[in-house]
Symmetry: C2
Subunit: 218 residues, 2 copies
């Protein structure tokens, strides 16, 4: 019985995700599902991206948290196109929550939506939101063993951003070990090493985004 | 129907947790449920604790991970009394998993069991394992806003260890803000600031533990 319930939840989620995907496609919007453990730098990456692209493209943000509007308020300082989802304790976003949030964004005007998922390396992985890409953000301070301990998120992601690279010289983070473990799980997964704090190598991330921009048909 | 299933799971968990608690009490064992997001330093704190106390008391460790034996192997270097639980994807330990793991420890000889929960600031909170204390480990690099974004774990914990304090001077972590937000959620919650890496203030943690040791009756 329990398994049946979970199957139904995932089936419903997939149907809703497909509707979201169609809506995003019809409006020429690139949509990113941004995943990480708490404190790896999802909000910082979103803010630094808006700062660099706000004069070029229209960006919307969907902020997922179990409670509070703390991150949405930080982001509101840089754009009006931000919606907060409070999951009320649930440990991940689902496609239905995103569908509701999208109604509050002016999607006809948007080129890019960044969805900040709940900070959690495990639970969000199984829930398709209708995004184009899943992006996992690791940070140097979390250590180089995260791919070993939380494989699914690294297997399912389309890009890995390694944040807080400014701290690499004072950490024990072994980049060869990390790269090797990533290759075992998801061969060839692109890793962009950057620092949201210092701005180091942000241009590689911005370049990755620019190549994937869809363009409005109208 | 879904809610009923969840209620049953929690009811069963509570019953099993009470059995674990009785077993631990009957054997005079102090049991800690150690919670944090990935990479905050649960394994490091366990290893540094064993190093300092292994000649004084007998310590057992239960390692929870969604997969791999990576942490258990690290800990095995310092003690033989370690059991790995692989949850197979589940985002938290439950009392039944701990009951199974405990069978593999020589509990009659042990004074302390440290249970390293799955790295996750959300899901483990609701699952009593039969422990004496829930200890949440935050790290400076995760940022000072974690109490705002993940309240339940800070409300339910009996002690907060703030790790990686050696990095405080090069971080934006505002200790007054953090303390204030903790006080809003869990007034008076003790915070021990330390660094597993440099050993800074480890004596306060060891002192906290020593005061709570139960002693064998036989």
């Amino acid at each position: 019985m329990k398994i049946e319930v979970i199957k139904n939840v995932l089936k419903y989620n997939k149907e809703q995700a497909d509707k979201n995907r169609k809506l995003f496609k019809d409006n020429g919007i690139l949509v990113l599902n941004m995943l990480s453990s708490p404190g790896a730098g999802k909000t910082s990456l979103i803010i630094e991206t808006i700062k660099r692209l706000k004069d070029t493209i229209k960006i919307g943000v969907i902020e997922g948290d179990i409670s509070s509007t703390y991150d949405a308020e930080k982001i509101k300082y840089f754009t009006d196109n931000v919606v907060q989802i409070n999951t009320g304790g649930t440990c991940h976003l689902n496609a239905g929550m995103v569908a509701e949030a999208v109604k509050k964004l002016k999607i006809k005007k948007l080129d890019l939506i960044m969805i900040e998922n709940v900070g959690n390396l495990i639970c969000p992985v199984g829930f398709d939101l209708g995004e184009d890409y899943k992006i996992v953000i690791s940070s140097v301070n979390e250590g180089d063993d995260k791919p070993v301990k939380y494989p699914p998120i690294f297997i399912k992601s389309d890009l890995l951003v390694l944040n807080k690279i400014d701290l690499i010289s004072i950490s024990d983070f072994n980049q060869d070990f990390f790269r090797g473990k990533i290759n075992d799980l998801n061969p060839g997964l692109k890793i962009i090493k950057l620092s949201c704090k210092t701005g180091n190598n942000m241009e590689e991330w911005i370049g990755w985004l620019a190549k994937r921009r869809k363009g409005k048909s109208n």
